[in-house]
């Protein structure tokens, strides 16, 4: 079968609209899911510091200390005993190796350091010395 030049030209044309639609849907999906991950964090006024420039390893447990001094894990208020239990679970998951458990503390910046000291002491008793202090990167500053 022999195509005319016009027919050949018609075959060469791509309709980009469905592809753009699909790409848009994918982009919207990924943007929204990443946004939800950000929103899952408890809003806390953390100390404004640039932070550590060193390469970070993944955090295994995030502990928030809100403006009233309450401890929160994944947005839920936890007592000291419950926190101990959660930390013990993380330790068990890591095969009892405290170095493999990476704790991030996100404190309210206006709180007295008493709350941080208490928590650090609690972590130290479990052998967890490699915790990190969460900071809010100031506008225009970067790590």
């Amino acid at each position: 079968m022999r195509f005319t030049r016009a027919a050949r030209r018609r075959f060469m044309m791509f309709d980009m609209t469905p592809m753009i639609d699909v790409v848009l849907q994918l982009i919207i999906f990924f943007m929204y899911t990443s946004q939800f991950a950000q929103l899952a964090r408890t809003p806390i006024e953390m100390p404004e510091e640039a932070g550590d420039k060193a390469e970070h390893k993944p955090i295994t447990l995030t502990i928030d200390i809100d403006a009233t001094g309450q401890l929160l894990v994944e947005g839920e208020i936890v007592t000291s005993d419950e926190l101990d239990r959660l930390l013990q679970i993380e330790l068990d998951k890591a095969g009892g190796d405290p170095a493999a458990v990476r704790v991030l503390i996100r404190p309210d910046r206006t709180l007295p350091s008493l709350h941080l000291n208490r928590l650090a002491d609690r972590l130290a008793r479990l052998g967890l010395r490699g915790w990190r202090l969460g900071t809010s990167v100031p506008m225009g500053g970067g790590a």
């Binding site: 030209r9 609209t17 953390m46 100390p47 190796d97 007295p112 350091s113 941080l116 000291n117 202090l133």
Partner: protein, 137 residues
């Protein structure tokens, strides 16, 4: 009526750009709106690398201790007998210390956590890799 061949060919070869422009426009709006709401977060290390590995070997070197205290309403950063009140002088003082020995940071219970974070950040800015936070009991 006979059209010139090149006119028809040009019309057929054009890609519909309208959808693409719509997408780009939506993305631009999205990033402009969200950029102002999402604050960037980072963190500061609180322990020696050696401690993280669990070696816990006692050092016979003289420890360098940075204490964060409250004098009246003002925060004071104390290294030995030197008392400093601002970040610039603290970083300058810390940068003169021996980096191999590391530094211990100790914060009084009454000091705001923001000042404690400033002390840890100053140690990092001064070039210390080994920073240990010592909780005050």
């Amino acid at each position: 009526m006979r059209f010139a061949r090149h006119d028809h060919a040009d019309e057929r070869d054009l890609l519909p750009m309208t959808s693409l422009i719509d997408v780009v426009f939506l993305l631009l709006i999205y990033f402009m709106v969200t950029a102002s709401f999402t604050a960037r977060e980072n963190d500061l290390a609180s322990a020696l690398r050696a401690d993280e590995q669990g070696t816990g070997r006692a050092s016979d070197l003289l420890p360098q201790i940075l204490s964060v205290e409250l004098a009246g309403d003002a925060v004071v950063y104390r290294i030995g007998e030197r008392a400093l009140s601002d970040r610039a002088s603290l970083v300058e003082m810390l940068s003169r210390l021996n980096k191999d020995m590391g530094v211990f940071v100790k914060a009084s219970n009454v000091v705001p956590i923001e000042a404690t974070a400033t002390a840890l950040q100053s140690c990092t800015d001064a070039g210390f890799v080994k920073v240990t936070y010592v909780p005050t009991s």
